[in-house]
């Protein structure tokens, strides 16, 4: 069941996300199918995300959320369909060209993806050292690494190795690495999985803060509805230095629900809570 189309006209009719029709989506999937042997990890998935929007992707384990993010990065090639990022068709783009696209995307992997043979400083500075279009001299690199680590309040861990940090701290280092190059789009794969509620809140607060300070397009995969709630209904308040409630229009947050590779729901939080599909409803009764 697909409750909402993605056509612009429909988005505008809903009145919650107002798009200029000439605006180009930051990310666009058109009938994307990804298969591994017999498994269809993504099955005819189409959606688009516009600049400044937030997306929450919900779905059971194995429903294809991670595959969706990796396909958006060009790490996985679709079997069918096309993917556009920043208006460029990346479906058959060679790896060297993809590096320039990926330089503009930040990503936090579910398993962290920190290099355990490198220090925290080297980890966070990795894109600035290796990404062809981001390369910068060592002094500037260090300054930006320290700045990114200060953002996640871990500037004292520069010389440590990932194995010396707790799970929550590693996640924060991952966030620092994702944002160090000031990307226009950030993808977070299950940023709070396996964390206690207080640490999870810290992580979500960082994600919201980064989004609102730099007005970044944010796509977050999660199983916790609580995370989605913060992303959709809170904004970073620079005055008080914490999250403050905000009307849903302000955060421009929309939800996608995946089920066995199929997109079964797309819409606003109000529509999500009004949904009748029992699978979709499973994800919304988890608050507090």
């Amino acid at each position: 069941m697909r409750e909402q189309g993605t056509a612009l006209a429909e988005l505008e009719r809903e009145g919650t996300v107002v798009e200029r029709p000439d605006e180009q989506p930051v990310l666009r999937f058109e009938h994307v199918t990804v298969s591994f042997d017999e498994i269809r990890a993504l099955d005819d998935v189409s959606f688009q995300v516009y600049a400044g929007e937030s997306r929450v992707i919900l779905g059971a384990a194995g429903s294809g959320k991670t595959v969706l993010l990796k396909t958006a990065l060009g790490l996985i090639k679709p079997d069918r369909g096309r993917v556009w990022v920043f208006g460029q068709d990346i479906t058959e783009m060679p790896e060297e060209e993809l590096f320039h696209i990926r330089a503009r995307i930040g990503v936090l992997f579910q398993e962290g993806g920190l290099f355990d043979s490198l220090t925290i400083e080297e980890n966070v500075g990795y894109p600035l050292e290796n990404q062809p279009s981001l390369r910068c001299p060592p002094e500037e690199r260090r300054r930006r690494v320290v700045e990114a680590l200060r953002f996640v309040e871990l500037e004292h861990t520069l010389d440590k190795y990932p194995s010396e940090l707790s799970g929550g701290m590693r996640r924060r280092v991952g966030i620092a690495r994702a944002i160090v190059a000031e990307p226009e789009l950030v993808l977070y794969d299950s940023p709070t999985a396996g964390l206690d509620p207080i640490t999870a809140y810290t992580i979500i607060a960082l994600i919201v803060k980064e989004r609102d300070l730099r007005n970044i397009t944010t796509i977050m995969v999660t199983h916790r509805y609580q995370d989605a709630h913060f992303l959709a209904n809170f904004r970073w308040d620079p005055q008080s230095g914490r999250l403050a409630p905000a009307p849903p229009e302000a955060t421009r947050t929309r939800f996608l629900v995946l089920r066995e590779g199929r997109l079964v729901f797309e819409g606003t939080r109000a529509e999500l809570e009004a949904a009748s599909d029992p699978y979709v409803r499973k994800f919304i009764r988890r608050e507090q």
Partner: protein
């Protein structure tokens, strides 16, 4: 029926794709020199003790066996020659490659496999590095450089092992043993004795890296690819050895 064949055929195809990508990138920048030297240290210096031990004991054993056989013809004095030929032509290259396969094909598969399952390989690609350039190429270059050197050492230590037997148990003089050993070696023995480890290096590094990068299924998967990498590379070493020896004898 065809379904049973599909996974191995696909795996072979994937392996050759990886090999092709590695060769294409061999002379293309970036070259991660620091990674190459690190791998040379891990593979070369790290394997030195086991390779020397294996070389010494197999040389000594050959010394004993050959002298026993030569006794029947009253030709114990030829022991040096037989030890030299078996070590340089066969035992040195093959045993060294097997030892390095056990240590380093396993090491590469488990290291790259852990990186795969913790999404470090994805992170590399997302952050601007090609894992073939950054991980596979340094390991291949390091193995192909270091394995012939290790083989020379194994050959020499093997001759030394044979010498210990000849000198202390067979009462051969030192000059008798070494001259006999030295003169028996032809130019092509040495060439093929070094060509072999160079070729085996590909069976070790590419197979180890292939299984590492193909790992799926968490930590269990890492164990599985490590085992497969060792088994496959050792089998490949024996098969390649047969082919190279076939070329050698037909020359």
């Amino acid at each position: 029926m065809l379904d049973i064949l599909k996974p191995p055929v696909l795996a072979v195809q994937e392996f050759f794709l990886l090999a092709g990508r590695t060769f294409r990138n061999l002379f293309r920048r970036p070259h991660y020199a620091a990674d190459i030297f690190l791998q040379m240290d891990i593979i070369g210096v790290g394997s030195l003790p086991i390779v020397s031990l294996i070389g010494f004991f197999s040389g000594a054993v050959m010394g004993m066996q050959m002298s026993k056989a030569l006794q029947q013809y009253g030709a114990v004095g030829q022991t040096g020659q037989l030890v030299a030929l078996t070590m340089v032509r066969e035992l040195g290259p093959v045993l060294t490659a097997i030892a390095v396969a056990g240590r380093n094909a396993a090491g590469m598969a488990s290291e790259l496999g852990s990186m795969k399952v913790t999404e470090q390989i994805d992170a590399m690609r997302a952050l601007g590095t090609d894992p073939v350039q950054k991980l596979v190429k340094p390991r291949l270059i390091a193995t192909a450089t270091v394995l012939p050197l290790l083989t020379i050492i194994a050959d020499f230590v093997g001759l030394l092992g044979g010498f210990v037997i000849a000198y202390f148990f067979l009462n051969l003089s030192s000059a008798q043993y070494w001259n006999n050993a030295w003169q028996s070696l032809e130019y092509r023995d040495v060439t093929f004795g070094l060509l072999k480890p160079f070729v085996f290096a590909f069976a070790i590094a590419l197979v180890g890296c292939y299984y590492g990068l193909a790992t799926t299924g968490g930590t269990q998967g890492v164990g599985r690819s490590t085992t497969q990498a060792v088994v496959t590379s050792i089998i490949l070493i024996f098969i390649l050895n047969l082919f190279i020896t076939r070329i050698y004898v037909s020359l």
